[in-house]
């Protein structure tokens, strides 16, 4: 067994342990922490499997925004799961059978890592071979994401937009007015305040770096948006939600959400003017490569804008509505 296989297996075992712990634990807080760990480990595994872009995203999502949202939810709901009262037999059987079916399905699969597997020989080779000449950027994932399958990504932006709108619709009515509320900064916490203040700038810069270097390395609009939003969220956590709202009002965030989608969708329309099909960026520049490059830059920016804005507005919605938990409920 190679080292790679050992790493692979140990990370998978790790994931299994984590997942099992999540299943078993009834302290929801621990469950949330563990699910963040699950994300971290799976991201490590993804790096190991060469999916660096995915790992980037999984980490940003799982360890960052998901955790924050889950904590916010726990803050608003409860922190302990009640002991299950229902019979667990039926779910167990269903799940077991599903798993068995899948295992049965693996028997005819190409072996792990097989370079002759169908997926390695049919569509993908063209991406690897032609990205340089057709798109002109090194990161094939970005090329496929934003151009070859750019419409999927427009769909993806729409998904995140939908989630943002949905959360607003569900929770906006419950955001409490600031009157009568003390702006709750962590004001006694000198160390946190100072360090956070110092880090926000670099974090945002890192976000923008990820945004604009998605063509060359792992990263892109989605990851950048998440990081940018994280910077903002940490500001809101430390310096108070109300201050964060003053810096970027909710309504502005909402409009930015829309702007990102519009930017992406709008870029697609430009090709109509040149008689090309939707989302053909080649028309944007003097030659195909330049056009593709510019197009990818623009749509990635749209993605980043929407994602960042959605995350911020989602955080506003979650964090903005609740009373702190009373002692009885704690």
């Amino acid at each position: 067994m190679s080292i790679a296989a050992v790493i692979d297996i140990s990370l998978l075992v790790f994931l299994g342990l984590t997942a099992f712990a999540i299943l078993k634990l009834r302290a929801l807080f621990a469950v949330v922490m563990l699910s963040s760990v699950f994300s971290l480990v799976s991201a490590a595994l993804l790096v190991h499997l060469d999916a660096v872009d995915v790992a980037f995203t999984e980490a940003a999502v799982g360890a960052g925004i998901s955790t924050v949202l889950m904590l916010a939810t726990l803050a608003l709901t409860s922190r302990r799961e009640k002991a299950p009262t229902r019979s667990q037999a039926l779910p167990l059987i269903v799940v077991f059978l599903t798993g068995l079916a899948l295992v049965y399905g693996t028997l005819d699969m190409p072996r792990f890592g097989d370079p002759q597997a169908p997926i390695q020989v049919h569509v993908a080779p063209k991406y690897i071979a032609d990205t340089q000449s057709e798109i002109g950027i090194p990161n094939i994932v970005t090329a496929v994401l934003a151009s070859y399958r750019g419409f999927d990504t427009l769909g993806e932006v729409t998904v995140i937009f939908t989630a943002g709108i949905g959360v607003l619709l569900l929770l906006a009515g419950f955001i409490r007015e600031p009157e009568g509320l003390r702006v709750q900064t962590m004001d006694h916490h000198l160390v946190l305040r100072v360090v956070t203040k110092m880090l926000i700038g670099p974090i945002m810069l890192f976000a923008l770096y990820v945004q604009f270097h998605g063509d060359f390395g792992p990263g892109g609009g989605f990851q950048a948006g998440l990081i940018f939003a994280s910077a903002f969220i940490i500001y809101a956590l430390v310096f108070g939600l109300e201050n964060a709202r003053k810096a970027v009002p909710g309504r502005a965030v909402r409009l930015l959400v829309a702007c990102g989608v519009l930017l992406y969708g709008g870029v697609g329309f430009v090709s109509f003017l040149f008689g090309k099909n939707y989302l053909n960026y080649s028309v944007l520049g003097v030659d195909q490569v330049a056009g593709q490059h510019l197009g990818i830059l623009l749509v990635e920016f749209g993605v980043g804008l929407t994602v960042a804005a959605v995350m911020v507005s989602t955080f506003y919605a979650f964090a903005g509505q609740n009373q702190p938990i009373s002692d009885e409920d704690w």
């Binding site: 634990l25 009834r26 302290a27 807080f29 621990a30 922190r79 302990r80 002991a83 916490h189 160390v191 946190l192 360090v195 110092m198 880090l199 704690w330």
Partner: protein
Amino acid sequence: MTALVTDAVSWAFLASGSFLVVVGALGLIRMPDFYTRLHAAGITDTLGADLILMGLMVQAGFSLVTVKLLLIGAFLFFTSPTSTHAIANAALTAGLNPRIADGAGAGTDSAAPEGDGK
């Protein structure tokens, strides 16, 4: 020759870093209460991490990679004590009293607001 030297140096860094990381994690399990565990965790977060990063830097030579490793190190340098401090502070404010050598206020794990029901 230089390759051998850098390899040896980096190997030393990595080995000692790995050792410290494992020791820190061991401490995380062995230590009797929350506050003492903080110290154990500190080992990993500081010297263990730094040594490994340095080992990697030596491997990478003078390049962008080294700079990024440095950035990671710097970031950890700022954030890890901050988090540790924040956790400790939160625990203390929440009324989790440390176990003190003289015996006063020992064994107050029960003050945990979140038991585990096991």
